[in-house]
């Protein structure tokens, strides 16, 4: 790369007339209820360089933005300070607002007086107001030093990577493929389908899960724009929005996928039997096996850890597909966008032996119940208790296992109430003589037909008891489970006996989530799931441009929600893929060659190899296309030759200095009446716009 870096703009005169407007937002009562916004505006109006200040009920509203634009025009402002929420919420809004008026978007300084002030000092109004004044003063001084920058455009490769082929990832892949974009669909398991392929029936309609998922899996396989990479994992991600280079590992199946027909003859002759993971460990599979009857791709896989190398499968295989010497293969793809749909796992009650799980035979998890209930499951759809394979009559269900508990996870997994209701219904329908008791904290049934499903369960005779079991014990003679639980509605202790107890285990993050976080540098929320760019307005975006999240990767969700997110990701990604270009921040490092002594200290600082030596000149050279604007090299430069645009030393130090003030300026004595008044700096406070209704 031979790109010549920009140098420090010597033409930017420090004496240029800075005309600052300060816009203080009340955010309804969010700020205005704590911070005296008018006092802050009055204070700002007195500071040098400030021509006009204004208080708005909602600066982000149409009228609030119109107010900014009008004042830019009236006062010929060239710097705008907005004191409001977080730049993460509204910086783009106000950048666009001032850009419309012909101002460079980087002439906006955003001061956070809500998240960092009014919301965290709710009972210290005076001190919060003083702090807001400090923050605004810091912002004004920084604003005066801001320099114009250009956001740059980068081309976008019109291909997508979807990580995880559960129902959310499949939906994202299908939507993108149907819009004409090439999609690489990477799945770590030997088959696509994800967790939904293991469910028996799905609430609230109780339709057969694989019957609705199976055709979708086939649709994915048939789609010419989708390249399924099953039994594969993403190893490395390099690059940036529009231009990601992704290295993918294809784990060895020990057979030629092109030759294998999925006939499973190999499986028939394999002498090894191991617990069948697809059935939650119930029943067995062979060391070479087809994952499940509806698997896509319908190909066998050899589990090398359990293979005894008898070579029976190679003899049985009619198409000579077996390759014992196979190793991991690697491929590299280039894509413009990445969608993470890495799924989840269910809470494992075994390590803590919650409610005696793992200690007593006749306590199973809901996922295990789900597989037992499935007609293709290990018992052909019969619910039996593990201790004696008898079909239980009295079945207890415990909700919120591993959820809503300070000891495990405090969040609600959202799906457990509904699947418990469904499971109880299904067994009751199959065997009306059974008796069901659901022990719950709260029953949560939002969304269409969920509450109806709950009512249906009650009408079928499923009993609901509000209370969390306090003691669970096994009767050693019968294997029955005795539960002591407080019926908190009746206010009495109950001693119940069940033939089988089913734990409604919650949803927890899986390894894939950690992996994706590390690979893409995503943020994680306190619940351990990945964090979206904005909890309400950008629910499938991440802070990394061109990276989106679908399904449970960003927190517990049911199937319709996960599918919607898959489609949402496809829609968001299409904005980039269709436009074929992305806007990247103009914030990069720049070298002043006059000051650079060519010491090369900066070069190893850069994790992106964006700094190279210009050997002829003996100076460092920043390649803008590679620079991501972290500024680490700038802090390391011993001569001050390196600067980071928008975070130049003088800009940062202006903020540092203005944290403080001399006492004599601390409480300026201006007239504080309503209306407009001239400030010492020649500015005036315009309070006419505080009421949105009065604006024109």
């Amino acid at each position: 790369m031979n790109e010549v870096s920009d140098t420090v703009n010597k033409d930017a005169s420090p004496d240029e007339d800075k005309r600052v407007g300060v816009f203080v937002c009340e955010c309804g009562v969010n700020i205005g209820g704590v911070v005296d916004t008018h006092a802050v505006a009055d204070y700002a109006a007195a500071l040098p360089g400030v021509l006009v200040t204004s208080v708005n009920k909602f600066t982000c509203s149409d009228s609030g933005q119109a107010d900014i634009q009008q004042k830019i025009k009236e006062h010929n402002l060239n710097r705008v300070v907005v004191a409001a929420c977080s730049p993460k919420t509204h910086e783009p809004t106000f950048r666009a607002c001032i850009e419309e008026m012909g101002l460079n978007q980087y002439f906006l300084e955003f001061v956070n007086i809500r998240d960092h002030c009014s919301w965290i000092h709710m009972w210290e109004k005076e001190k919060a107001t003083e702090k807001a004044k400090d923050l605004v003063r810091m912002g004004i001084e920084r604003a005066k030093l801001l320099e114009p920058l250009q956001a740059s455009e980068v081309p976008v490769i019109d291909k997508a990577l979807v990580v995880g082929a559960g129902v959310a990832g499949m939906q994202a892949a299908l939507d993108l493929a149907d819009m004409g974009f090439k999609v690489y669909l990477v799945e770590k398991e030997p088959s696509i389908g994800g967790r939904m392929a293991r469910f028996d029936k799905v609430f609230p309609t109780n339709d057969c899960s694989i019957c609705i998922l199976g055709p979708k899996m086939v649709e994915v396989a048939r789609n010419k724009n989708i390249e399924i990479m099953s039994y594969s994992e993403v190893q490395e991600v390099d690059g940036y929005v529009g231009n990601f280079k992704v290295k993918i590992e294809h784990k060895p199946r020990y057979l030629d996928v092109g030759k294998c027909t999925g006939c499973a003859k190999c499986s028939e002759v394999c002498p090894v039997e191991v617990p069948y993971d697809f059935n939650e460990g119930f029943g067995t599979r062979k060391a070479i096996y087809v994952p499940f009857p509806q698997a896509v791709p319908l190909r066998a896989v050899l589990d090398n850890d359990n293979c005894i190398n008898c070579k029976a499968c190679a003899k049985a295989c009619e198409s000579n597909a077996i390759e014992y010497e196979q190793e991991s293969a690697y491929s590299e793809v280039e894509v413009g966008v990445i969608i993470g749909a890495v799924g989840f796992k269910t809470y494992d009650p075994a390590p803590r032996a919650d409610y005696g799980y793992g200690k007593y035979d006749n306590i199973i998890t809901a996922m295990e119940f789900e597989r037992l209930l499935n007609a293709a499951g290990p018992t052909g759809g019969h619910i039996v208790r593990p201790s004696d394979c008898k079909e239980p009559i009295r079945v207890g269900f415990v909700n919120c296992v591993g959820s809503r508990d300070k000891e495990t996870n405090i969040y609600c997994s959202g799906v457990c109430c509904m699947y418990t209701i469904k499971n109880a219904q299904l067994l009751k329908e199959k065997r009306p003589e059974t008796d069901h008791t659901v022990m719950y904290i709260d029953i949560r049934t939002p969304f269409r037909a969920y509450e109806e499903s709950y009512n249906r369960a009650r009408n079928l005779g499923v009993k609901f008891l509000r209370g969390r079991p306090v003691e669970v014990k096994e009767d050693p003679e019968t294997g029955n489970i005795r539960v002591r639980v407080e019926d908190t509605l009746a206010g009495e202790m109950r001693n119940l006996e069940f033939d089988l107890l089913v734990l409604g285990t919650g949803v927890v993050p899986n390894e894939g989530i950690n992996r994706l976080q590390q690979l893409l540098k995503l943020s994680k929320a306190t619940d351990g799931f990945l964090m979206e760019a904005h909890p309400k307005l950008r629910p499938v975006d991440t802070t990394i441009d061109g990276v989106y999240l679908a399904g449970v990767a960003s927190g517990p969700k049911d199937i319709p929600y996960a599918v919607s997110q898959g489609s949402a990701c496809a829609g968001r990604a299409t904005i980039l893929l269709k436009n074929k270009k992305a806007i990247t921040e103009g914030i990069t490092a720049v070298v002043n060659p006059d000051v650079c002594v060519g010491c090369e200290v900066c070069i190893p600082m850069c994790p992106f190899q964006a700094i190279k030596m210009d050997e002829q000149a003996g100076k460092a050279n920043v390649m803008k296309a590679l620079c991501k604007g972290c500024g680490t090299c700038v802090a390391a430069c011993p001569t001050g030759a390196l600067e980071q645009d928008h975070f130049k030393n003088n800009q940062v130090i202006a903020q540092v200095k203005n944290v403080f003030r001399f006492e004599e300026v601390a409480s300026p004595d201006y007239p504080s009446g309503a209306g407009t008044h001239v400030s010492p700096a020649g500015g005036y406070v315009d309070e006419s716009s505080e009421d949105m209704g009065e604006q024109t």
């Binding site: 977080s86 709710m122 400090d134 994790p607 604007g629 500024g631 680490t632 700038v634 802090a635 980071q644």
Partner: protein, 148 residues
Amino acid sequence: MSPDATPDTGKWEPKIVAFCCNWCSYGGADSAGMGRFQQPPTARIIRVMCSGRIDPIHVFNAFLEGADAVLVTGCHIGDCHYVNGNDKTKIKYKFLEDVVRELGLEKERLYLNWISASEGEKFANFIRDVTEEVKKIGPSPLKPEGVA
């Protein structure tokens, strides 16, 4: 979360300069706001893109201008948005610690902390703890006369 009982008495309050990286700790401060985690109004946050951008000069400037404490914060190690900027912050911080000691300042005036964008409560507790520590040792000896 209960109303802070300390009355507004105009007596000395520490002033703390907190450098936050855009991706993690600034977000953590935002999360503190969203979760309404109350904290003393002592900190003034300065946003940089990466903790690696925090120049020792910024920290010394803060002390010379009158900071009672300075906080250097960023993403957890391994989570840096720029791969390993925070590793370099860690190295620089060792140097900062030495110089701050040379300047005659107590060790309770300089802190390094990794706070993710979701750790609002941690951020609030951090500000509360530092404020208490600094209140114990009083105003910075470097604070110029007349500065608040």
